[in-house]
Amino acid sequence: MTTLLNVDNVYKSYGSLPVLKGISLTVEEKETFAIIGPNGAGKTTLFRVMTGEVLSERGRITYADHDVTGMSAHDRVQLGMGRTFQVARVFPEFSVEENIIVAIEARLRSRSESSLPWYRTRPRSSVREEAGALLQDLDLWSKKATEAKFLSHGDKKRLELGIALAGKPQILMLDEPTAGMSPSDRIATTELIIRLRAANAMTVVMTEHDMDVIFGLANRILVMNQGEMIAIGTIDEVRANPIVREVYLGKEMYGADG
């Protein structure tokens, strides 16, 4: 196994309030890595530092041999780091299909995989085919002509996943992929992620609240509390960690054991 993403001793504070106090982690290729912790633990900030939404104050982040510490968010995406948002963000005025098409075109243009002429008024057939295949994969094909603003919450989440996948990411970063979903939607989404992960040989980094989703998806877990690392390791290692049991996981872990 080779290391794909490496976060080394990262610090970040908002004003005088420290939010990340020296976080280090490594994500191996093709594994799924989950970041958990109570509200205000710094999960979201860590996520943002990794995606490039905010820059860290100290420390280093490398991704596939590139130092991305000070790199802008869009450059990181071009290197293969895709992401979704906690509250699904799609383009409301576009149809479902256009949402995917614009994402494919963005990839083609920004990574210069092909010289896509700017004047082509209709997406070329290969782009449409790719979009169609992706929509079928996501089970959104029947809604391809619907304007995205009319989609249900779950459909929006899936469409956003599609936008991220259209960028052909090597590593997919999911910010609470099942937030606000019903239990049955959670199960469906977990299964979808497992399927897509296998099909695209992807590495996944995620933050998540729901323990079932984490146990269903993650290989390794980082537990955070108040900007510090409490524990890092495989699910079993983390389960066995007494501090984790004490601070955070206790209840749910026993529940999961029993």
Partner: protein, 340 residues
Amino acid sequence: MRLINTVLFAACLAVMFTIPLWADQGILFIAGLVLVEMVFALSWNLLFGFTGLASFGHAAFFAIGAYLCGYALRADIGAPFLLLILAAGVAGALAAVLTGIVLLRRTTGIHLAIFTLALAEILRILVGYSTALGREDGLASIPRPSLELGFASFDLASGEAYYWFLCIAASVIVGFLWLICHGPFGRILVSIRQDPERTTFMGINVPAYRLAAFTISGATSGMAGALYAPWAQIVTPESAHWIHSTQPMLASLLGGAQSFWGPVVGTVLFSIINYSTRNLVGLAELVIGVVLLVIVLAAPSGVVGLVHELRRRLTARVSHAGPGAEGKAGSKGKFVQEAA
């Protein structure tokens, strides 16, 4: 639907090209101004309706083109007219790049509005101070050039000849903007307007795209100015005044900023209102104000959006009788693609 659109489009083109044959000089002059303002409004709307940036000083780019062309024609420097128009475009683009680099990295919204407004006013003051550019009186009696195409030469001195030239030149620029707006580049601009952050995470360098849109918009505004100078035959600092900057905004909003043809419809409507109320001072403003207010409050997608909505309801009713709910959603979706 496509047939109706084609027929409608052809009819508009036919009216545009035949105006000199049936209208009087007064209307001909206004029609020429409409063509110029149309290009100007489309340029502004590339920023607002497509990219989501509101410039309040766009008249500056227009004035740069107009003064450049007017000055060169008066000085009779012998440059071909087409080259002058291109030069005006380049000048507009340069001005846009310079301001865009400073402003767009950090500012959008109200700050961008104030910055662009202040810069345009500075330009207006400078132009009004410059003796070479005629101070407050501007450049008067600008001659209309002749068009040298190598194989043929056309004298554009007459109103009709220059009008036809305006028709062709405006069509070319509008066609260029249409291609930009309807391709992948335009789609990405619309994505940026809807959600810049989401677009960033598709790997798009949002500030660079904004700058590109700003530059193109500056270039075509400059060209609109260059076309204006020989038509009006006078260019004054008023062309850089912030009131002129509001023209394309009003036209775009009136017609519908989310649609490509909205600004064109708006510009034409504007002129019709102005023309039909010309005898009673103040009435034109009152009518335009009320219409604009009703549109912004009741139909933010403008006249074009309103027409689309009506059509949508009609098609929905037709398909209601047919394939049922599924077909309804389908026809609506198809419609959306057509409108986009």
